[in-house]
Amino acid sequence: MTQQELQHLYWRAGFGINPNRYKSMPKNKAQVIEDFFANSKTFTPLHIDLSYLNGIKPIDLKNYPELKKEINQKGRKKILELNNAWVKRLFNPKELLRERMTLFWANHFVCRERNPLYAQQYNNTLRYFALGNFKDFVKAISKEAAMLRYLNGKQSRKNKPNENFARELMELFTLGEGEYSEKDIKESARAFTGYNHDFEGNFIFRKLQHDYESKLFFNRIGKHDGDDIIDIILSDKRCARFVSDKIYRYFVNPKPNKKHIDAMAEVFFKDYNIENLMRFVFLSDWFYDEVNRGAKIKSPIEYVVGLATTVPVTFENDKDLLKIQRILGQTLLDPPNVAGWKGDKAWIDANTIMIRLKLPSVVLNNGFIALGENGDFRKQFTKNKKQKLPFKTRPNWEVFLENFKYTNIENLQDYIIQGTINKGTLDYIKALDKSSKQAYCIQLMSLPEYQMC
C-alpha cells in the first residue's frame, strides 16, 4: 500500500493519519483494512452525566411546572454537553471506523432531539448499528424515542395515522424521492400506528392504537406492521442501490459512478450487512483511483477533527468548539432539517471559506501565517501575543513534531494535503522559506487545497 493510498483510506474511513504510524503498518492492503474493521468490532457508547433525571417521574413534571422548567433548562445545557462529548470522542476515537460511520448515519437517519436522554440513546443506536445489519438498523430507528418524536410517530394512531415518518422512511432512509406512490405512504403509515415510547425512552407498542386491518403496500396485501413494511422495502433492490449511492458519494466521490455503485448494490443486497459493503468499497481498486483522492470537500467536522489529528489542540473553553461548528455551518445534533446537511459545495460560501482559511492560524498560531521571512514563526510568539483572539487554545506542537520527525520538511505538503495542489500555488509555497515545520504546516492548512480530502 502506498503512502497516498494509506492517507486516502484514513481520510475517508477516519480523519487522517500521521506519518510516524506508517512504519508500524502492515504492507499488505487487505491486512490494513482488516485491522481497521477489527479495531471497530467493539462498541463504546457515548455517555454524559444525566443523573439529574434520576427518580423523576412524568407526573412530577405535570404537577410542578417549576420543576419542568428547571429540567428543560438543564436539558438544553446537556445537549450542548453531549455535542461536546461527541466532538471530543472524534478527536480521540477508540473505534475509528465505527465513529466515522456513526457520523455518516447521523446525516442519513437525520433526527433532532432536545431531550438529552433520548438524544444520547439515539446517538448510541447509530453507533451500535453503524457497521451492522441495515435491516435491523432501520427497524431500530423506527422504534427510537427520538425518531418517534421527531417525525410524529408517537402521534400516529389508528384512524388518524400520521404520514410523516412513513414518507421520510422511503424518501430519505431507504428508496429516494419518487420511488413510491402517495398511496404507499398512506398504507404504510397505518402499519406504524401504535408506536410509542415511555419516559425513559424505551419503545412501547400500544395495541389499541395500532391498525390491524389489511394494507396494500407495494402490491402486497397483508396485515403488515411496521417491521413488515421495512422488510418489503428492503426486499426491493432499489433500496440497496439508494443506500450504496449515498455511501459512495460520502466515502468515495461526490460525483457518482454508476458502475461502481451498481457493484456495491450487488454486494449490499445479498444480506444488507454494512460491514461487508464497506469492506468491498475499501478493498476495491477504484476506491484508490486518483480521481477519488482529494475529490471531496471536508465537512466542518472532518475539517476540525482532521486539523486536530495533525496538530493536537485543546480548547480552553468548551463553548468555543461549539462556536466553531456553528460558524462553519455544522453543529452536531442540530441538523438544519430532516434532509440533513447538503454537504459538498454547500459547505462553502464566501463566509465559511474565509473562516476556514483563517482558522488554522488562529487556532494554532495566534492568527499568524508566516510569509517565509527568516524566523518569523518564532517572532510572532513574542510579538503578536497581545492580539485579541476569538478562541483560547493550546496546540501541542511537540506531538506534531514527534509525528513528523522522519518527514522531510520539503515533502510536508504530501502529508498535509490530499489530492493535487494547484501548480501556481505549489510553486509559490515551495519557494517559501522552510525553516520551521510548524510554519509550513500552517501555510498548507491555510490553502483552499486543505479543504479537500
Binding site: P254, I297, P336, I348, D349, T425, L432
Partner: protein, 395 residues
C-alpha cells in the same frame, strides 16, 4: 534562483501580468446604480407576543384571557380597538406619518409550534410539511444576485433565508474583522500565483473562486463604507449596532439589496412583562434611530423594513405569567410610500380561536413576501415563492 531573487521577481511579475483577469474584474467592478430599492429584514426570534405588542385594549376577551399579563396602562391608542405597547412609543410618529403598516393575523396553514421548524418555514417560504433547503431571499439572489454582498446579514453566520440553491449572501457581524482576515498577505500571494483557466469546473476551482469572491466582497465592503455616513446616535445594544451598520452601508451607497438583522429573546414562557418590555424598547428605539438616520441621508425613501417573528403566542396566559407558543402574528412594514399605512386589516376574532387556543391566520406570510418582491424589488415571484400568491395592497 535564490529565494530573495524569486520573491522579487514574482512580486514584480504578479503585479504586472499575473494578476488573473478574474481578480481584476472583481476588484474594479463599479456599483451598478445607486439609490435603488433596499429591503431590511428584522427578525424577532423566539416568537414575539403579538397581542401584547399591538393590544386590543377594548376587548374584554383579551383581559379575561390574561388576568395578570394583559396591559392596561399607558397604551398608545392607535385607533378605537388597537394600541401600541407603551415601549413602542418611539414608533408612534412613523404610524402617524403613514410610514408604518401593521398587518395582523399573518401565518400559514397547519401552523407548527416549534421555533426551529416555524423559523425554517418563514425563512424558506415553505408549506408547513415541506422541507426546503434554500431561503426565499437566497432564491431571489439565485436569480438577481451577482456578488455575495448583494445581500448581507449582520451576524457571524448566514441564515437559511439568505441561502440560495447556487448563491449565498454574506454574513458579517464586523466587516472590519472580515476585511482583516481577507487581506492577510498570505492569501493575496496565493491568489496571485494561482493559475487555472477552468475555474469552478471542479471542487477545487469552486473553492478558489469562492475565496476570490469572499476577498473581493470583504474588500468592497470595507473600501466603500463610509463610517461617517451614520451620524445619528443609537441606543447601546447589539441590535442597534446591527442597524447602525446597515445605515452605514445604505448611506454609503453599497450595492446591497437585502440586509438581514435579528433581535432574539422573545420566547417569554415566564415573567413575560419585564422581558418583552425590555426587548420592545430595544426594538423601537433602535428602529426609530435607524429611520431618522436614513431620513437624514435621504435614503429612507428607498428602504423598506419588514419585521416578523416565527409565531405569535397563545391567547391565554400560562401559570408562570408568560405565554406559550402560538400561531398567527402581526408583521410590521415600515417605509415611505406605503399604499395602506396604519392597520392593513383587523385583528382576528379572540372568540374564534383554533383548537390550540391560538389566533387564526387569514394572511399567508408568503403573500407578504410576494408583495415585497413584485411591488418593491420589482421582480417576478416565479421560482422564489411557490404557488403564485396574490400580492397584497400595502405597497
Amino acid at each position: 534562483m535564490d529565494r530573495r531573487k524569486f520573491l522579487k521577481n514574482s512580486a514584480l511579475v504578479s503585479s504586472l501580468f499575473f494578476v488573473p483577469n478574474f481578480v481584476k474584474a472583481f476588484e474594479s467592478l463599479p456599483s451598478e446604480r445607486l439609490g435603488y430599492k433596499r429591503l431590511v429584514i428584522v427578525q424577532l426570534a423566539g416568537g414575539n407576543d403579538g397581542l401584547n405588542t399591538i393590544i386590543p385594549y377594548n376587548n374584554d376577551l383579551y383581559y379575561n384571557a390574561r388576568p395578570r399579563l394583559a396591559i392596561s396602562k399607558n397604551i398608545i391608542k392607535l385607533n378605537d380597538d388597537l394600541g401600541f405597547h407603551p415601549s413602542l412609543s418611539p414608533l408612534q410618529s412613523l404610524f402617524d406619518n403613514g410610514e408604518l403598516s401593521i398587518i395582523n393575523n399573518v401565518g400559514y396553514p397547519n401552523p407548527v409550534r416549534s421555533h426551529f421548524r416555524s423559523m425554517d418555514i418563514w425563512q424558506t417560504a415553505s408549506e408547513s410539511d415541506e422541507y426546503l433547503q434554500s431561503g426565499w431571499l437566497g432564491r431571489y439572489l439565485d436569480q438577481h444576485g451577482k456578488k455575495p454582498y448583494n445581500a448581507m446579514e449582520m451576524d457571524e453566520q448566514l441564515s437559511l433565508a439568505m441561502k440560495g440553491e447556487h448563491f449565498n449572501g454574506i454574513a458579517t457581524s464586523n466587516y472590519k474583522t472580515l476585511h482583516n482576515s481577507a487581506k492577510d498577505p498570505y492569501f493575496k500571494n496565493v491568489l496571485n500565483h494561482y493559475n487555472d483557466a477552468h475555474l469552478s469546473e471542479h471542487n477545487l476551482g469552486y473553492l478558489y473562486q469562492t475565496m476570490i469572491e469572499a476577498k473581493s466582497s470583504a474588500n468592497y465592503i470595507y473600501e466603500n463604507t463610509k463610517v461617517k455616513s451614520s451620524q445619528k446616535s443609537y441606543p447601546q445594544n447589539g441590535f442597534a449596532g446591527q442597524l447602525k451598520n446597515v445605515a452605514q452601508f445604505i448611506n454609503s451607497g453599497l450595492d446591497t439589496k437585502v440586509f438581514y438583522t435579528s433581535l432574539a429573546g422573545f420566547d417569554t414562557h415566564a415573567n413575560q412583562d419585564y422581558k418583552q418590555t425590555r426587548l420592545l424598547t430595544q426594538y423601537a428605539e433602535s428602529v426609530s434611530a435607524f429611520v431618522s438616520d436614513l431620513k437624514r441621508s435621504s435614503t429612507f425613501k428607498d428602504t423598506l423594513i419588514l419585521t416578523f417573528s416565527e409565531f405569535g403566542r397563545r391567547v391565554n396566559q400560562n401559570a408562570a405569567n408568560g405565554t406559550d407558543h402560538g400561531s398567527a402574528n402581526n408583521v410590521f412594514v415600515i417605509g415611505k410610500n406605503l399604499k395602506t399605512a396604519g392597520f392593513y386589516n383587523e385583528l382576528s376574532s379572540l372568540s374564534d380561536l383554533d383548537a390550540n387556543g391560538d389566533l387564526k391566520y387569514n394572511i399567508d406570510f408568503r403573500s407578504v413576501y410576494a408583495t415585497i418582491l413584485s411591488q418593491w424589488m420589482g421582480v417576478s415571484t416565479k421560482g422564489i415563492i411557490s404557488g403564485q400568491p396574490k400580492p397584497l395592497d400595502f405597497l
